[in-house]
Symmetry: C2
Subunit: 147 residues, 2 copies
């Protein structure tokens, strides 16, 4: 009962690593870059729910090719410090820019997916034809246009 105190609020570095699949080095590195700001019990880091939220966003950003430095600025937007209006304005502007980037990227991703699908379809077609009549092995002088 005791060791199950409702504090999964603060967690150690190992627990964080387990939850997010990163190494301690990574978390310390992020802290050094001021992306995270865990509490301290003596020397030991204690990661809060805020750190977890930020880390989630960081890793998400990374997966889409945003640099850590870019993410750092954006993180404040998610912090919802509604008291400082100037900051908020800046954050909104930045956020909108980011959103536009992401939507553009989604469009491109869709295109890439379409293209890749087309290639896969083509490949599958060629393959089924080849296995159907295995005579047509080498000469493929089809007038197919490469687009």
């Amino acid at each position: 009962m005791n060791h199950m105190s409702e504090a999964n609020e603060q967690m150690t570095i190992r627990q964080m690593c387990a939850e997010f699949g990163v190494t301690p080095r990574t978390l310390r590195f992020y802290e050094s870059k001021e992306l995270l700001a865990p509490l301290r019990r003596g020397q030991t880091r204690l990661f809060t729910r805020r750190d977890r939220a930020r880390l989630k966003l960081i890793l998400r950003g990374k997966r889409f090719g945003f640099a850590l430095e870019e993410m750092r600025e954006l993180l404040d937007l998610y912090d919802r410090d509604d008291t400082r209006l100037l900051q908020l304005r800046k954050g909104l502007k930045l956020g909108r820019k980011h959103l536009a980037e992401m939507e553009a990227r989604r469009g491109e991703l869709d295109e890439a997916i379409r293209d890749l699908r087309a290639e896969l379809d083509h490949g599958a077609r060629v393959l089924s034809q080849a296995t159907a009549k295995p005579m047509t092995v080498k000469p493929t002088p089809e007038p197919e246009v490469i687009r």
Copy 2:
């Protein structure tokens, strides 16, 4: 003189750079990694439509965080060498894996977009409320500056 020769088929390194917004170094680097294989007129590289197609895919892949090495394997899939069936099979498998990754990534991207939008809406709401009744402004060190 014949600057209008119909050969935009083979193009020089500068022309490539202009078309794709990269540096010569980048193209030479890609060649060294066997991602491109331009022809040669003596020493000079001549990039073909094949190189252009590949470069387009490379840059696209990069924008979505795929490493050059990953892209290199995939590029063959787009080459449509329909003669080597075993290769084709391998390529298809790889391509499908890649496609699955991209689709997963698109799902995540959509989620990220939704989240960011929510934050932006929240921010905008807070901001409009604050400007409507500016009494609830926490002690801001600086007086409000317009944008």
